[in-house]
Amino acid sequence: MAVLLLAEITDGQLAMDATAKTVTAAKPLGDITVLCVGATCAAAAKEAATIEGVSKVLCAEHDLYGHRLAEPAADLVVSLAGDYSHIVAPATTDAKNLMPRIAALLDVMVISDITAVIDADTFERPIYAGNALQTVKSADTTKVISVRGSVFDAAATGGSASVENIGAASDPGLSSWVEDKVAESDRPELTSAGIVVSGGRGVGSEDDFAMIEKLADKLGAAVGASRAAVDSGYAPNDWQVGQTGKVVAPDLYIAIGISGAIQHLAGMKDSKIIVAINKDEEAPIFQVADYGLVADLFDAVPKLIDAL
């Protein structure tokens, strides 16, 4: 058995945490070859080669792959697929875009967002916003899988796998990149942060959301948000935590002015310690919170910032 593992690379940069967590998940499945794809990815390939458990790195550097478009990357992976029993990637938006396309081209079912590897054919995955865990056994010859990072520890670095450059596949010419709108931030990344401070509709406005960010900065935390906060324009879309946003499991998750809808809980209920600040003592978020504070957030949050 052999695994082709798609490294998460954005603008030439390896997302080490997401990739290394996927290596941990894939280790029981066989010998791991990491595929790095990008307009520039030689540095990322070199870095991926240091992840322990990786036997080999393939580096496909070509302009075609510069903006993570699904169609050319899927064609490349399909051209390599014959050598592997499993094709895996971290369940990022890039992989969610790409993996089902690869699976369909191989005429196999994709297995999205797995949370455990039972054996080479059998995997566990959450369904219904994490309200049920399903164990599925695949009858397909090639397994195409995305891996939920929040449940796996990152593999260590210190290895030194070989890196081999490979050529590009042909250009399907179906789509082109126009622009990225990415907010630069010095804060830790949401899915790998040790502490996450999230704000919801209760925060009330974009201006007041600055208070949530200030608390996060005091704690060296990442900032998250509920769907309602994103829909209302208090926070950007990439901060959304939940069933259809990001899934996080930090040591400490602080939910402020968030009611605790199942779709939100789906993205954070595996956090080690959960704190909720809400003025409604009946709010469902208190049913999962280790520490609940029934209070007006406009009173509690400034006090909390001062107390830290």
Binding site: T10, H67, A70, A74, K96, N97, M99, P100, A103, A104, L105, D107, M109, V110, S112, D113, R125, P126, I127, Y128, A129, N131, A132, Q134, T135, K137, S138, A139, D140, G173, L174, S175, S176, W177, V178, D180, K181, V182, A183, I195, D231, P236, N237, D238, T244, D251, L252, I262, Q263, I273, I274, V275, E281, F286, Q287, Y291, G292, L304, A307, L308
Partner: protein, 253 residues
């Protein structure tokens, strides 16, 4: 141009899901079912394309049990012109996998020749997030997933996508498959007169055999389990107490 909108009948998003005691699945007997919320957004977008003069006809299609008719009637009441139901299961607990759904949708596309297919990004029951991408692959078309903005201009569509780092805008060749995200629009409610009118709109019924597609699953469901539930902790009386607990008891500060 014709717009094809696949809509799935799923458990209503407000219902708390319960796993069946024998671990064979979740209990869908007598629970409220609704249109997948992302698909409402897709239907809304299709209707807006028609209202903007960029599309002539909106066709909704659903694959599943016979009762998916209700979901299609909802789409028709919102403003879709016509519906196709592919009855592929006789039990709500038999979910058709995205690969089989994509194959059926491809057959419908071959017949209907739409200029665009608007899928939801994810069905909130299986949480697969796969069908649109799979359909696009089978058709050899372009794909634009997780759309929060969509603009069609001749033989291209410009789509802004919600991605992990923020937003990405791409330009795709038409025909195309777009999967829609939460921020694309706010779906309308069907008015009572439109609900009445929808009853008279055409709804074709088909079977997978009509399209020669095998809907057998590739993934065998070994078991379905309840996740570990989290117990509520304690309420603290003040910010000071919270900080003390986090430092001394939880050790996370």
């Amino acid at each position: 141009m014709k717009v094809l909108v696949p809509v799935k009948r799923v458990i209503d998003y407000n219902v708390k899901v319960r796993v069946k005691a024998d671990g064979s699945g979740v209990d869908l007997a007598n629970v409220k079912m609704s249109m997948n919320p992302f698909d409402e957004i897709a239907v809304e977008q299709a209707i807006r394309l028609k209202e903007a003069g960029k599309a002539e006809e909106v066709v909704a299609v659903s694959i599943g049990v016979k009762q998916s008719q209700e979901t299609l009637r909802t789409a028709l009441a919102m403003g879709a012109d016509r519906a196709i139901l592919i009855v592929a299961a006789d039990d709500v607990h038999n979910d058709i996998e995205p690969l089989a759904v994509a194959k059926l949708l491809k057959a419908v596309v071959d017949e209907e020749q739409p200029g665009i297919v608007l899928c939801g990004k994810q069905a909130i029951d299986n949480d697969m997030n796969a069908t649109g991408q799979m359909l696009s692959a089978l058709l050899g078309w372009s794909q634009a997933t997780f759309a929060s903005e969509l603009d069609i201009d001749g033989d291209k569509a410009v789509v802004t996508r919600e991605v992990d780092g923020g937003l990405q805008t791409i330009k795709v060749n038409m025909p195309t498959v777009v999967t829609v995200d939460l921020r694309l629009n706010e779906p309308r409610y069907a008015s009572l007169p439109n609900i009445m009118k929808a009853k008279k709109k055409p709804l074709d019924e088909k079977t997978p055999a009509d399209y020669g597609v095998d809907v057998g699953n590739r993934l065998e469901i070994v078991k379905t389990a309840e996740p570990e539930t989290r117990k509520a902790g304690i309420k603290v009386g003040s910010v000071e107490e919270l900080v003390t607990k986090l430092k001394d008891e939880a050790g996370v500060l």
